[in-house]
């Protein structure tokens, strides 16, 4: 054991203790005396001058009243200063409108990525190019400053995360955002012109050809007005395939398309992979086609949508749909390519399979051979075989719904049903052939065995681990990819109730780290309060897959175009101010500890175009640019260029300064913006 515990040199990040070795050691630490002995031996090797860590560790354990499980959990999660986490978790913040990045296993919050909501620290939405990103997500020309983010999706290559891009949806307004993981900045927000409210996104196809998004609460196409008594005729569901251009790092709306569906509510989705590549799957609710109207005497939607025993799993052949679009068999609606229901039926693009009513998650197994539907109101997960689905399609024995869409026989597509407990919502996978499903009502995570070819002992519940409380989504390390990594799982719990200090009646959510290592029961390791939103889905990626920049590649880098900006000033001393009629254009530079030029004088009503380049090359030498009164604050990271455009419509004297504490003379990094009043 002492061999295994030989400590690393303090700054050596290159060596990593292998997980197996690490866990082997921890396995031995399962009892209290062993744990303290472990600490003692560790210490003996590390620093001779520190006396008896074994004894002091025992003292700490006693003082803090820690159990052996606590000590093991601490050893598994503690990240010494300067060490990096092995995994990164990207999670939504719900109606916080942003994305969070946590390190695992430490569960440290590393970053909040501004996406749909202005965020001043990142200079997001306070002048500069991020304003254009936010404007791109306007709703019929109206700016939106919040979103309900639900499901982040990392870009994939061959069904595995490639660490290049992240997509996230906005349920409230039907939008999708693109984040570039070279600089962790939002580059694009697209508004789906066909729908208003959505839920079934973002999920990507195995090579990120498309980003999937579908409605939740149907509206007439484009969200136009139609009374609710025309629900069946006018309201429609929309299954959207956003085309992604990896080179440009942008969604291309002109090359995207959607498939029209009946006004069933669409819930979660997943893209097929392996044998099921080219297909996509959506759950649905409210195949009753009920509409609200409590005051009119109609039942509440919670009752109205749960009257039938079965809703429909939507099975979509997107590869074929792509060809149908290429063949021109679509209509342009709101400027968007839409395949009508009749075309989808004629061309064999869309099939329905009954599923226990009002399910929630639909998750494709790592090999792409099964589709797991979590029951929500049904204590089972229902597992469909893709092979059987194909056989059923080939057999052609269909019922049809009232819109003429073929319904495949449930029994013919079914592989298994596994009873897990109350409120199954979402499913993830590990590398041992186990699946993990969140149980909302039970407040637990169920570990269950997949059948062949994953495991011989398949299709049965293995164990349940209580979590705190009301778990929604869960995420295992790369747990929705073709090659899940196992190791850890995070339960995203909606309620924390008694887990943290009371901070008023709005309680933080609770992300709980769970050890799902092989050959041992699941163990709860750590609570991480989320005080900045309500995480829904999250994805966990091996940190090594992400190749982020430490500084922008060249001085004068425009993060919007990801290239050098023609208006960048590349050298100190080349700053200048030009006046053309009523326009004043400034080419400026920021460096420690100057903003150059440091005096800009304009006349009231002048249009100001101000190019600012942070000329620094040192890691972390970020400068802010704040102009009080004009609601302007930029974050200019080393090498970055941004352009401000505004009308100097307020006369007066306005100091501008650097908002990042960049140097000992940071306070002195200022200047004056003088606006002369009109005579």
């Amino acid at each position: 054991m002492s061999e295994q515990l030989r400590p690393k040199p303090p700054y050596d990040r290159s060596r990593r203790v292998s997980r197996r070795r690490f866990l082997g050691v921890l396995g031995a630490a399962a009892s209290l005396p062993a744990a303290s002995a472990l600490l003692g031996s560790c210490n003996a090797l590390q620093r001779k001058e520190t006396p008896k860590l074994g004894a002091s560790a025992e003292e700490i354990i006693k003082q803090r009243q820690l159990t052996p499980e606590d000590v093991t959990a601490a050893l598994m999660t503690y990240m010494p200063s300067g060490k990096y986490d092995e995994y990164l978790m990207f999670s939504s913040t719900g109606h916080g409108g942003q994305v969070l990045v946590h390190g695992l296993p430490s569960m440290r919050l590393l970053k909040v990525i501004a996406v749909f909501t202005p965020e001043p620290w990142q200079g997001y939405g306070y002048g500069g190019s991020p304003n254009r990103v936010l404007e791109g997500g306007s709703f019929r020309g109206r700016p939106l400053t919040w979103a309900d983010t639900h499901h982040p999706a990392l870009s994939e290559t061959n069904g595995e995360y490639d660490g290049q891009f992240l997509f996230i949806n906005d349920k409230a307004n039907g939008r999708v955002a693109v984040i570039d993981l070279r600089d962790f900045e939002t580059k694009q927000i697209v508004k789906n012109p066909l729908l208003v409210n959505e839920h079934g996104g973002c999920f990507v196809t195995p090579n990120t050809e498309y980003v999937l998004e579908a409605d939740q609460y149907p509206v007439p196409l484009g969200g136009e007005y139609a009374p609710l008594n025309q629900y069946k005729e006018k309201y429609r569901g929309v299954l959207t395939f956003w085309k992604f251009d990896r080179q440009q790092g942008r969604i291309v709306p002109e090359e995207s398309f959607a498939i029209e569906t009946p006004p069933y509510w669409h819930d979660l989705a997943d893209a097929g992979k392996g044998p099921s590549e080219g297909w996509a799957f959506w759950n649905s609710i409210n195949t009753e086609l009920a509409v609200p109207g409590i005051l009119e005497g109609r039942p509440a939607m919670e009752m109205a949508t749960t009257q039938r025993d079965m809703d429909y799993l939507h099975v979509v052949n997107w590869r074929k749909a792509e060809q149908v679009v290429a063949a021109g068999k679509y209509e342009e609606v709101q400027g968007f390519k839409l395949i009508r229901i009749e075309t989808a039926v004629e061309e064999g693009l869309l099939y329905l399979i009954p599923e226990p009513k009002s399910p929630h998650g639909v998750d494709v197994t790592p090999r792409g051979d099964y589709i797991v539907v979590a029951g929500k109101l049904d204590p089972h997960v229902t597992v469909y075989s893709f092979e059987k689905i194909q056989q059923a399609i080939a057999a052609g024995q269909f019922d049809h719904d009232e819109y003429g869409i073929p319904i495949l026989p449930f029994e013919q597509c079914l592989e298994a049903q596994v009873e897990l407990g109350l409120g199954p919502l979402h499913t993830q996978f590990d590398d041992q052939g186990y699946a993990y499903t969140s149980l909302f009502l039970d407040s637990a995570v169920a570990r269950w065995a997949l059948g062949k070819p994953y495991r011989e002992d398949g299709w049965k519940l293995v164990e349940k681990l209580p979590v705190h409380y009301n778990i929604g989504h869960l995420a295992a390390v790369e747990g929705d990819t073709a090659k899940p990594a196992g190791t850890f799982l995070v339960a995203h719990n909606k309620w924390s109730v008694d887990r943290f200090s009371l901070l008023g009646p709005l309680l933080p959510q609770n992300a709980q780290l769970i050890d799902i290592g092989p050959d041992r029961p699941m163990r709860l390791l750590y609570d991480s309060p989320i005080g900045i939103g309500e995480p829904h889905y999250a994805q966990i990626i091996k940190a090594e897959r992400i190749k982020a920049w430490d500084v922008y590649p060249e001085v004068g880098w425009n993060p919007e175009t990801q290239s050098v900006d023609p208006n960048a000033v590349l050298k100190v001393g080349e700053e200048r101010i030009e006046r053309r009629g009523k326009t004043v254009e400034i080419w400026g530079v920021l460096l420690r500890s100057q903003i150059r030029p440091d005096v800009v004088e304009v006349e009231e009503g002048d249009e100001v175009i101000w190019h600012l380049t942070n000329i620094e090359r040192a890691k972390d030498a970020t400068h802010g640019f704040a102009l009080g009164g004009y609601n302007i604050n930029l974050s200019l990271e080393p090498g970055e260029t941004q352009t401000l455009r505004f009308v100097a419509d307020m006369p007066g004297t306005f100091p501008f300064y650097c908002t990042e504490f960049c140097s000992a003379l940071h306070l002195e990094m200022m200047g004056y913006f003088l606006v002369k009043p009109k005579r």
Binding site: L591, R592, S593, E616, R617, A618, A664, L665, E668
Partner: protein, 220 residues
């Protein structure tokens, strides 16, 4: 370098009977090969740094590095960052140091290599005498470097933000110094070591050529 500086003068002070031994060693050397090696070493040194400086401070965990090349690369490393930091104490920009010397250095080294090559090709005493320049070259480099380091540390802009906090100083040519929160570690680069090797080879070759009997060297 140390060998040439210590053993040769010491050898002359030794009793007379030691001299034949040195002669015997020298007589085994081929002056042409030595001069040719010196020429090659000088040319290769153009691609390598002559002097390197590392600055260590808490906020730069990897340190900052500046390397001086006498070849076409010139100043390399974190020059902009070091300049940016230096401006707080009013130090000139690194590019402003030894502009003349750095401009002629590549040609000078090629010329020295040519001198050594000439001495290899033309086995005359006058060609060997010219090669004394090759022997002196690394010492000239170090003297010039020391001058510029002194100059930089003693010509600080009095209007700089931290001018009152920093007294004039001379950064080390070799070894460790301290400026503000920075430890400055100066090292000779592989280019300079090659120049020293060329100097040593030339010195030996010159001595060999001055030996009275120019016997053929047996090729083993």
């Amino acid at each position: 370098m140390e060998r040439i500086a210590t053993t040769l003068p010491v050898a002359t002070e030794r009793p007379a009977e030691a001299r034949p031994a040195i002669r015997a060693v020298l007589s085994r050397l081929n002056d042409r090969i030595l001069f040719a090696l010196a020429a090659v070493a000088l040319l290769v040194s153009l691609a390598l740094p002559y002097w390197e400086m590392t600055l260590l401070a808490p906020q730069y965990p990897g340190g900052l590095k500046v390397a001086i090349y006498l070849g076409p690369r010139g100043l390399a490393g974190d020059v902009a960052e070091v300049n940016g930091l230096n401006h707080y104490i009013g130090m000139m920009k690194l590019e402003e140091a030894a502009t003349f010397e750095r401009a002629i250095a590549p040609f000078g080294i090629v010329a020295l290599a040519a001198v050594a090559a000439l001495a290899a090709a033309v086995r005359r005493r006058w060609t060997a005498l010219l090669s004394v320049l090759v022997v002196l070259f690394p010492l000239i480099f170090l003297a010039d470097l020391a001058y510029w380091l002194w100059y930089f540390g003693h010509h600080l802009d009095p209007t700089a933000a931290l001018s009152s906090a920093i007294k004039p100083f001379t950064p080390p040519v070799l070894g460790t110094g301290r400026v503000g929160q920075f430890s400055v570690i100066a090292r000779f680069g592989p280019g300079l070591y090659l120049a020293f090797a060329a100097a040593l080879a030339s010195a030996l070759a010159i001595a060999r050529r001055w030996q009275p009997s120019q016997r053929r060297v047996e090729v083993g």
